[in-house]
C-alpha cells in the first residue's frame, strides 16, 4: 500500500510536469499571444513593448521563464499579465462555488443514476425500462450550454421559479445557496445520469446471469436482497470507477460551461476569462489545478477499486 501511494505520487508529479510544459510551450507558439504587445496597446512603440517585456520577465530564455512561473505558482505569488492580480488567490476564491456545484451535482447524478439504472434493469424490456432509456438518451444528447440556456430562459425569466444564476456562499445563507444552485446542479448532472444509468443497467443485466446470483437465490434470500446485495453491489464497481474519473474531470474544468452560463463565480468561470484574454498565468494555474484533481481522483479510484473488489491487490503480485 505504501509503495503504491509512493508510486502514484511520483507518477502524479510527472504528469503535472508534462502538462505544465506542454501548456507553456503551446502558449508561446500560438499567434497573437505576446502579452507585452497586448498590454502595451495598439500603437505601442518598440521601446514600450521592450519595457513591458522586461517588467514581466519575458525577455529571459524560455526555461527560465518556465521555472519562474512554476516557483510563483507553488509559492502563491503568481500574478496575471492582464489584470495584475494574484492568480492563486483568485482560484482559491473560486473553489467554494466550483466545489458546491460539483459535489451537489455529483450527489444528484449518482442517486438518480443508481435509481434509474436499477429500475431499468429490474424491469428490463418493459415500459419503465423503455421510458428510462429514451429519457437517458435525451439527457446524453443535450448539449450543456443549450440545456442551461433553456432552463434559464423558461424557469428563470418566463416563470421566475428560480434565480437567474450567480453564487451565494453557503456560509451566508444555506437556503439561498441551494436555491441558486438547483438549476446548475441539474444541468451538470443530466449528462452523467444518462450515461451512468445505462452503464449500470447493462452491468446489472450481466450480473443477473452470474452463478453467484443463482446461489443467492438458492440460499433463500428475498428477491430484493438478491438484487441489492448481490446484483447491484457487484455492478457498482465499474460505475464507481467512472465516477472517480468524471468527478475529477468536472472539478478540474468540466464545469466551465455550467459556471459560465449561470454566472457562478467558480474556477471554471475564471478559466473562461483567462482563455478569452489569452492570459498565461491564470491559464497555467487553472490547468495545473484541474490536472491535479483529475490525477488525484484517478488515484482515489484505484484505491477504491481494491476496496470494492477484493480480488484486486495494490502494488503486490496476486496470489496464485
Amino acid at each position: 500500500m505504501a509503495r503504491f501511494v509512493a508510486r502514484r505520487l511520483l507518477g502524479m508529479t510527472a504528469v503535472l510536469f508534462a502538462i505544465s510544459v506542454i501548456v507553456f510551450l503551446i502558449f508561446n507558439v500560438i499567434p497573437n499571444s505576446d502579452p507585452a504587445a497586448r498590454i502595451a496597446g495598439k500603437n505601442a512603440d518598440p521601446a514600450l513593448i521592450a519595457r513591458v517585456n522586461a517588467d514581466l520577465g519575458l525577455d529571459k530564455p524560455l526555461p527560465v521563464q518556465y521555472l519562474t512561473m512554476m516557483k510563483q505558482i507553488f509559492t502563491g505569488q503568481l500574478t496575471s499579465y492582464a489584470k495584475d492580480r494574484n492568480v492563486v488567490q483568485q482560484i482559491w476564491e473560486g473553489v467554494p462555488a466550483t466545489f458546491s456545484l460539483c459535489i451537489g451535482a455529483a450527489v444528484l447524478w449518482m442517486s438518480l443514476a443508481i435509481l434509474f439504472g436499477y429500475l431499468s434493469a429490474v424491469h428490463a424490456g418493459r415500459f419503465a425500462d423503455r421510458a428510462l432509456t429514451i429519457l437517458s438518451l435525451v439527457g446524453i444528447s443535450m448539449p450543456v450550454f443549450w440545456l442551461a440556456a433553456m432552463l434559464l430562459y423558461f424557469l428563470s425569466f418566463k416563470v421566475e421559479l428560480f434565480p437567474t444564476g450567480s453564487y451565494v456562499p453557503l456560509t451566508e445563507s444555506p437556503g439561498d445557496w441551494a436555491y441558486h444552485l438547483i438549476l446548475p446542479w441539474f444541468t451538470l448532472a443530466v449528462l452523467f445520469v444518462g450515461i451512468y444509468s445505462r452503464v449500470l443497467r447493462s452491468n446489472m443485466l450481466d450480473a443477473m446471469n452470474e452463478d453467484y446470483v443463482r446461489t443467492a437465490r438458492a440460499k433463500g434470500l428475498s428477491e430484493r436482497q438478491v438484487r441489492i446485495r448481490h446484483v447491484l453491489r457487484n455492478s457498482m464497481i465499474p460505475v464507481i470507477t467512472l465516477f472517480g474519473l468524471d468527478f475529477g474531470m468536472v472539478v478540474g474544468g468540466g464545469a466551465i460551461l455550467t459556471e459560465t452560463v449561470y454566472n457562478l463565480d467558480g474556477v471554471g468561470l475564471y478559466a473562461g476569462e483567462a482563455i478569452r484574454s489569452l492570459d498565461l498565468p491564470p491559464l497555467m494555474a487553472v490547468v495545473m489545478f484541474g490536472a491535479f484533481f483529475i490525477v488525484f481522483f484517478n488515484t482515489i479510484v484505484d484505491i477504491l477499486y481494491a476496496v470494492l473488489d477484493p480480488r484486486i491487490r495494490l502494488g503486490e503480485a496476486a496470489p496464485a
Partner: protein
C-alpha cells in the same frame, strides 16, 4: 424407505428466438429420505434444469413449468416466490458446479454463510458467525476461525467447494442437490469432496441428489441412478442394476465409454456415435433411436416403453428382454 420428494411428469420449456426448447420433458422419480440419487446424462440432457426446477430456480419469464414436484406433501411448483424462500436452503439446499463463480467474489466467505443464516433465523451477527465457523470446521476446513474472514479467491478449488457445502448445510436441510459438484476439481480433490458428501449423507441422514456426467462419481456414491437423455428419463434403477443389468442401449453406451481399472489394457473404450437431438424438435418415439445400433420399427412408431421390472427398475426400451439380458450379461462377462 418412504419418499420425501415425488416428481411427476415434470416438464420445463423455454421460449427462445429459435422456438420452444423442451429442456425437461416428462420426468418422474422419487427420492427417499437419506438416499443418494444420481442423475446422469451428457451435457444438455436436462439434468441440471431438472435439479434447479426442484427449488424453482428455473422460474423465468420465458420458462414454462408443468407437472408436480411434491416435497413432503407441499407442491413446490405451486408456491409463490415468497413461500419458496422457506424451501430454499431451509429444506432443500444446493451446491453448484464451479465454486469460483457460485460464490460472490466481493464478500468474505463467512459473510456469505451468515447472510444465509440470518435470512432465515433470528440470530445475532455474532451467533451466526460462530455457526459459520463451526460449519466450515465440520466440512474439514482447517483454521476455520481465521479462514472465515477470507474471500473466495483466497481458497483453493476444493476448499471453495467445501465452503459451498458448508453454506448449504447451514440451515440443516433434508435434501442436498449437488449439481456437478466435482466437475471443476482435479481428481484427488474430487474424491475428497465425494467422501465428504458421502459422510454427510450417512451422519446426518441427508438425502442427496447428485447431478453428474461421470459414472465414476456415480459408482462411488449413489444408491439409485436416473439416466437421462434429451430431456427424458431412459432408465431408473439401483446402482447395482445400472452397472450389472443395464437395460437401455444408451446406458450400455455410457458404461462402454467408461475407463475401468478392472479391464485389460487392450480393451478399447467405445463411443456413442452421433450427437443428441435438438430439443427444439426432438424425434418422435424413442429419442435415442437415431443413434441406437439396435433400432427397429417399434422405436420410432410408438412412444417409449414404460415398464418396471423387478418392482423398481424403470426400463424404457422396446428391445426384447432376452436380448437386453444377453447384452447386459455379455457386458458383465466381458468386463468381469
Amino acid at each position: 424407505m418412504s419418499a420425501i420428494m415425488t416428481v411427476e411428469d415434470l416438464r420445463v420449456s423455454f421460449a427462445t428466438e429459435d422456438g420452444v426448447v423442451k429442456a425437461v420433458d416428462g420426468v418422474s422419480f422419487e427420492l427417499a429420505a437419506g438416499e443418494v440419487l444420481a442423475i446422469v446424462g451428457e451435457s444438455g440432457c436436462g439434468k441440471s434444469v431438472t435439479a434447479q426446477t426442484l427449488t424453482g430456480l428455473t422460474r423465468a419469464s420465458n420458462a414454462r413449468i408443468t407437472g408436480s414436484v411434491n416435497y413432503r406433501g407441499r407442491e413446490i411448483n405451486g408456491l409463490t416466490d415468497n413461500q419458496l424462500r422457506d424451501v430454499r436452503g431451509e429444506q432443500i439446499a444446493m451446491v453448484f458446479q464451479d465454486p469460483m463463480c457460485a460464490l460472490n467474489p466481493v464478500y468474505r466467505v463467512g459473510d456469505q454463510i451468515t447472510e444465509m443464516i440470518r435470512a432465515h433465523r433470528d440470530v445475532s451477527k455474532k451467533e451466526a458467525k460462530a455457526k459459520a465457523i463451526e460449519l466450515l470446521r465440520s466440512v474439514g476446513i482447517p483454521n476455520a476461525d481465521r479462514r472465515v474472514r477470507l474471500y473466495p479467491h483466497e481458497f483453493s478449488g476444493g476448499m471453495r467447494q467445501r465452503v459451498m457445502i458448508a453454506m448449504a448445510l447451514a440451515l440443516e436441510p433434508d435434501v442436498l442437490i449437488a449439481d456437478e459438484p466435482t466437475t471443476a476439481l482435479d481428481v484427488t480433490i474430487q474424491a475428497q469432496i465425494l467422501q465428504l458428501i458421502d459422510r454427510l449423507n450417512r451422519e446426518r441422514d441427508l438425502a442427496v441428489i447428485i447431478i453428474t456426467h461421470d459414472l465414476g462419481v456415480v459408482a462411488e456414491i449413489a444408491d439409485r441412478v436416473l439416466v437421462m437423455y434429451a430431456g427424458q428419463v431412459v432408465e431408473d434403477a439401483t446402482l447395482d442394476e445400472i452397472f450389472y443389468e443395464p437395460k437401455h442401449p444408451y446406458t450400455w453406451g455410457l458404461l462402454g465409454s467408461l475407463a475401468r481399472l478392472d479391464q485389460p489394457r487392450t480393451t478399447r473404450l467405445t463411443q456413442i456415435s452421433g450427437a443428441p437431438p435438438s430439443l427444439l424438435a426432438p424425434p418422435a418415439g424413442c429419442r435415442f433411436a437415431p443413434r441406437c445400433s439396435h433400432v427397429f420399427d417399434k422405436c420410432t412408431e410408438l412412444p417409449p416403453l414404460e415398464a418396471r421390472t423387478g418392482g423398481t427398475h424403470l426400463d424404457r426400451c422396446w428391445l426384447d428382454p432376452d436380448i437386453k439380458a444377453h447384452r447386459g450379461s455379455e457386458r458383465v462377462a466381458h468386463h468381469g
